[in-house]
C-alpha cells in the first residue's frame, strides 16, 4: 500500500518515456518517407494549402496588431531617449528575429496543429488508417509525411507574412499616428537589419518550429486513443505541448544564435 504512489509514479514515468520513444520512431519514419512527397508533389501542395494558406488570415491579422502594439510601446520608450527614429528598426528586429517565428508557431499550433491532430485522430477512430494499411498503403507515408513537410514549408512563409504585415502595422502607428519620420523609419531598418544575423536566423527558427509543431500534432493524432475523449485529449495536448516546445526551443535557439 505504501509503495502504491511510488509504483504509480514509476508507471507514468515509463509511459512518458515509451511515448517519447514512439514519437521519435514516428519522426524517423516520416523523415525516411520524404520520397513520397518528391514522387507526389500534389500531396505536398495540398498540405501547404491546408496548413499555410488556411492559416494566413489569423497570422496576418495577428501580425498587424502585434506590429501596431510594438510601435506604440517602442515609441513610448525610444522617445524618452530621443531615439524615436529608430522605431522602424526596433519593430522589424523584434518581429523578424523573435516575434514573427514564435507567435506564428503558436498560432499554427493552435489552428493548424489542432486540426491535424483531430483529423488524424478521427481517421484512426473511424478505422481509415487501418483501412489504408489493409490496402497495403502505408498511412505514415501517405497521410503523415505530406502533412509534416507541408507544415515545415508553410511555417517560414507564414512567419514572413506575419513579420511583413507587422512592420506595416508598425509603420501605420509610428509614422501615421505618432509622427515618426517615414524616411528615418525605413532607412534605419535598412541600415541595421542584417540578412545573415536577422533574417536567416529567423527562418531557421521557423523551420525548427515547423518541424516540432507539426510533428507533435501528427504524433498526438496518430498515437491517440481512438475514442472521442482520446481525440479531445490529444488535441489539447497538441496545443499545450506545441506551445511549450516552441517557447523552450526559442530560448535555446536564441541563446545559440545571439547569446554571444
Amino acid at each position: 500500500m505504501l509503495l502504491d504512489p511510488l509504483a504509480r509514479l514509476g508507471r507514468s514515468g515509463l509511459d512518458v518515456l515509451a511515448r517519447f520513444g514512439r514519437g521519435h520512431q514516428l519522426l524517423l519514419a516520416m523523415v525516411l518517407g520524404v520520397g513520397e512527397v518528391l514522387r507526389r508533389p500534389r500531396l505536398l501542395i495540398a498540405q501547404v494549402y491546408n496548413v499555410g494558406v488556411l492559416s494566413m488570415l489569423i497570422v496576418g491579422v495577428s501580425g498587424l496588431f502585434v506590429g501596431m502594439v510594438l510601435a506604440l510601446q517602442g515609441h513610448y520608450v525610444l522617445a524618452r531617449f530621443g531615439a524615436a527614429e529608430s522605431l522602424g528598426l526596433m519593430v522589424a528586429a523584434s518581429l523578424v528575429r523573435e516575434l514573427g517565428p514564435v507567435v506564428t508557431a503558436l498560432l499554427v499550433a493552435g489552428r493548424a496543429g489542432s486540426a491535424l491532430t483531430a483529423e488524424i485522430g478521427l481517421m484512426k477512430a473511424t478505422e481509415q488508417l487501418a483501412g489504408l494499411e489493409l490496402m497495403a498503403v502505408d498511412p505514415v507515408r501517405r497521410i503523415l509525411v505530406p502533412r509534416l513537410f507541408g507544415g515545415v514549408l508553410a511555417m517560414p512563409l507564414l512567419a514572413a507574412i506575419f513579420s511583413a504585415v507587422g512592420v506595416l502595422g508598425g509603420y501605420f502607428v509610428g509614422v501615421g499616428l505618432l509622427g515618426v519620420d517615414a524616411g528615418a523609419f525605413w532607412s534605419q531598418m535598412q541600415a541595421a537589419m542584417d540578412v545573415r544575423e536577422d533574417v536567416v536566423n529567423g527562418v531557421i527558427k521557423s523551420l525548427v518550429f515547423g518541424v516540432v509543431v507539426t510533428w507533435i500534432a501528427l504524433f498526438q493524432g496518430y498515437d491517440c486513443s481512438p475514442t472521442s475523449a482520446g481525440v479531445s485529449r490529444a488535441t489539447t495536448r497538441t496545443v499545450v505541448h506545441g506551445a511549450l516546445a516552441v517557447l523552450g526551443l526559442d530560448f535555446v535557439l536564441t541563446a545559440l544564435m545571439f547569446g554571444g
Partner: protein, 298 residues
C-alpha cells in the same frame, strides 16, 4: 460466462485435425485446399488471454463463418490473420506464409492479395464513392484513367451502387457505405476477403442485399471468404463451414447442418439465442445483496 461444457464436448474441437473434419462446403475437401492455417494460437491483451491454443483452417473457395459471443476476439482474429497484430505464440499461415514473421514490405505484398470489409466501412471521408473505390487501383496499378474508370464502375455495378459514385461517404446510409467498402475491398481482385461483422446495424433490405452479395462475390470471383459475425441466421445461410469460438478456443465447428444438429448446451444457447444457459447474462461480480449493503465508494 463459462460454458458448462468443455470444448471436448463439441464436434471438431481444438486438438482435432480441423482440416480433416467434416465440412458442408462444396469446395472444401482436401488439406491442400487450406488457404489460412492457424495453429496453437495464443494472444493476450494485458492480463487477459484472448486466444489460448486456437486451431482453425480456412479453406480456399469457401465461405467460412467465425461466430461467438461479443468479446470473444473475432475481430482480433481478423487482425491477426491480416498481420495488424502479432500473436504471443503459435502460427498463422496465409497460403503457406507465416504472416507474423513477415517484414513490412512482404506483409504489404501479401495484403494486396487480401480484402477486408471493416465494421465501420472505413471509407476515406474526404473522397467520394468513385475515388474511394479507385483508391487501391491508383495506389497499386498504372491503369489508364479510362480503364480505371471502367473498372471502378464495374466494381460499383457489382454492389449495385454505380449510380451513387458521386456521393460523399457522409451522404451514404450504413448499408450503402458497407457496399462501397465491399467494392473497394474487391477492387484489386483479392484471393481472400475478410468481413468484420458485416450485418451489424443493417435494415432487413440492406442485410438481405449484403448476404446475397457476399455469397455471389465468393462464387463468381472464386474468392475465399472469412465472415466474422454473431448474426446466426445470416451467417448460417451463406457459410460453407462454421467455427464457434469462446474462451479463446474453438468450441464447435462443422457445416451449418452439423452445427444445427449439435446438442451441446453452449452451442444451442448461442445458435438459438437463449438468454439463459452456460453463458451468463451477468458479468461475474459479488452477490447483489452484498454489493448493495457495501458502504464502499463504487
Amino acid at each position: 460466462m463459462m460454458p458448462s461444457q468443455g470444448p471436448g464436448d463439441a464436434p471438431g474441437v481444438r486438438g482435432e485435425d480441423v482440416s480433416a473434419g467434416p465440412s458442408g462446403g462444396a469446395r472444401a475437401s482436401a488439406t491442400d485446399d487450406v488457404l489460412v492455417r492457424i495453429r496453437d494460437l495464443t494472444f493476450r491483451r494485458g492480463e487477459r488471454t484472448i486466444f489460448d491454443g486456437l486451431d482453425l483452417d480456412i479453406r480456399r473457395g469457401a465461405v467460412t463463418a467465425v461466430m461467438g459471443p461479443s468479446g470473444t476476439g473475432k475481430t482480433t482474429l481478423l487482425k491477426l490473420i491480416t498481420g495488424q497484430l502479432r500473436p504471443d505464440a503459435g502460427r498463422i499461415e496465409v497460403d503457406g506464409v507465416a504472416v507474423h514473421e513477415l517484414d513490412k514490405a512482404a506483409l504489404y505484398r501479401l495484403r494486396r492479395r487480401m480484402g477486408m470489409l471493416f465494421q465501420s466501412g472505413a471509407l476515406l471521408t474526404d473522397l467520394n464513392v468513385f475515388d474511394n473505390v479507385a483508391y487501391p487501383l491508383r495506389e497499386h496499378t498504372d491503369l489508364s484513367p479510362s480503364l480505371l474508370r471502367k473498372l471502378v464502375l464495374l466494381k460499383l455495378e457489382a454492389v449495385g451502387l454505380r449510380g451513387a459514385r458521386a456521393l460523399r461517404p457522409s451522404e451514404l446510409s450504413g448499408g450503402m457505405a458497407r457496399r462501397v467498402a465491399l467494392a473497394r475491398a474487391i477492387a484489386l481482385d483479392p484471393e481472400i476477403i475478410l468481413y468484420d461483422e458485416p450485418f451489424t446495424g443493417q435494415d432487413p433490405i440492406s442485410m438481405g442485399a449484403l448476404v446475397s452479395l457476399i455469397r455471389q462475390l465468393n462464387d463468381a470471383s472464386n474468392l475465399t471468404s472469412v465472415l466474422v459475425s454473431h448474426d446466426v441466421a445470416e451467417a448460417t445461410r451463406i457459410a460453407d463451414h462454421i467455427y464457434l469460438i469462446s474462451q479463446g478456443r474453438v468450441v464447435a465447428q462443422g457445416s451449418p447442418t452439423e452445427i444445427a444438429a449439435e446438442r451441446s448446451t453452449w452451442v444451442r444457447q448461442f445458435m438459438d439465442g437463449q438468454p439463459d444457459g452456460p453463458v451468463h447474462f451477468h458479468y461475474p461480480g459479488p452477490a447483489l445483496a452484498a454489493d448493495l449493503l457495501n458502504r464502499g465508494g463504487r
